[in-house]
């Protein structure tokens, strides 16, 4: 998971990010051109995770950060976070 986080973080520069309300709109840039067919809307927690990513962050640290910030059960979070990070990796790095 740590290596996925690192790759997602590296891929962040290929997106224009727009916070609106609690949502975050991600618009991918391909060859410098915005691709509106592939935009993604993240909810409040997804947006928090996106913003929390930085080069040194580890999966364990991210999980702890979320547990401190949101009222979620650790077991549920572990499962959902893995799914989310995997999906986000597919979206940001594998397109």
């Amino acid at each position: 998971m740590d290596s996925l986080l690192k790759e997602i973080n590296q891929g962040k520069t290929h997106f224009v990010c727009k916070h609106t309300g609690e949502e975050l709109l991600l618009i991918p840039l391909k060859d410098n051109v915005a691709d509106f067919n592939q935009y993604l809307v993240l909810n409040e927690l997804g947006a928090y995770i996106w913003d929390a990513l930085h080069p040194e962050i580890t999966y364990a640290a991210l999980q702890n950060q979320i547990l401190n910030e949101f009222e979620v059960e650790e077991e549920n979070l572990r499962e959902d976070l893995q799914k989310f990070i995997t999906a986000l990796y597919q979206y940001t790095c594998k397109k």
Binding site: V16, K18, T20, G21, E23, L24, L25, I27, L29, D31, N32, V33, A34, F36, N37, Y39, V41
Partner: protein, 289 residues
């Protein structure tokens, strides 16, 4: 130096300073946007004859229509330049530089024969839409692929790319008493009183400057029955941004446009619209918008 006149688009003025001995010509669509007035608050456009030479350090961006190069941005030892090409013959048509501090355009173009005269054609397509685009990167303004109509004091626009039925929708409304502002390209502008209006821009055909208050935005698509899906939040922003015009050379422009879009959607409703192209769509919209 005395200006030679001005162009007014969506309430923004551009004064023209002809630095050559040649006269200027403009496309037919500019006729009613041109004026001899020279407002103080205008952006300035300095027009020179001929081309200058410079060394290109870096190619930053190329705008193409299929494989045809329309214009490109290059960095030179003399700053950043737009090189604008003839849309059919591909030859260099204008060299242009924009100074965003002084809000000044400098345009170089070659003289050409026109009715036994030698003239300059400084804003020949695609130069002018490029200038409107740069304007949108500085103002509360969006350039959008959309048709727009006004009916009983209510303005509606139908945004989408070619083939979704923008013109068809405009014509249906016109046949039922509405006035078309334009059926292809509009500028959406936040006015000084906080309201939003949509404006036409000079096209290749003659049309007087028109504008209308903006009340509703629709994204039409062909459908076996009339349907409506109201949009909000980030999804609405993405949908509207998809049909506004962006040039990818600076992601700051996209951020600016997304902020303008967010601002607009706080006041104006947006919806996806499945359309059967008959006059029944009018009653459907009025009932459901």
């Amino acid at each position: 130096m005395k200006p030679n006149g001005s162009i007014c688009v969506a309430g923004y003025n551009f004064t023209l300073y002809n630095q050559s001995v040649c006269g200027l010509i403009f496309e037919t669509g500019f006729e009613d946007f041109l004026s001899l007035e020279t407002p103080d608050d205008a952006r300035k456009v300095y027009i020179h004859e001929g081309f200058i030479s410079f060394e290109i350090i870096k190619n930053c961006y190329q705008a193409k229509n299929n494989e045809q190069l329309l214009w490109e941005i290059v960095d030179t030892e003399n700053g950043r330049w737009f090189l604008v090409y003839h849309p059919e013959h591909s030859h260099l048509q204008q060299q242009a530089q924009y100074n965003d501090q002084e809000k000044t355009w400098t345009i170089y173009c070659q003289r050409q024969a026109h009715q036994k005269e030698e003239v300059l054609h400084p804003l020949a397509y695609p130069m002018a839409p490029l200038m409107w685009y740069v304007l949108t990167t500085e103002e509360q303004l969006l350039l959008i692929h959309a048709s727009g109509i006004i009916e009983s004091g209510k303005g509606r626009i139908f945004a989408g790319f070619s083939g979704v039925g923008k013109s068809t929708m405009a014509n249906i409304w016109q046949n039922n008493g509405a006035e078309i502002i334009n059926d292809d390209r509009l500028l959406l502008k936040k006015e000084t009183n906080g309201s939003w209006r949509f404006h036409n821009t000079p096209m290749y055909y003659r049309a007087v400057p028109k504008s209308a208050v903006l009340n509703h935005i629709f994204f039409p698509f062909h459908s076996p029955q009339n349907t409506i899906e109201k949009l909000s939040g980030a999804k609405a922003i993405a949908q509207l941004l998809a049909f506004t015009i962006h040039h990818g050379y600076d992601s700051k422009h996209l951020l600016h446009h997304s902020s303008v879009t967010e601002n607009l959607l706080q006041d104006i409703t947006a919806a996806k619209l499945g359309v059967v192209p008959t006059s029944e769509i009018i009653a459907f919209i009025k009932t459901n918008e």
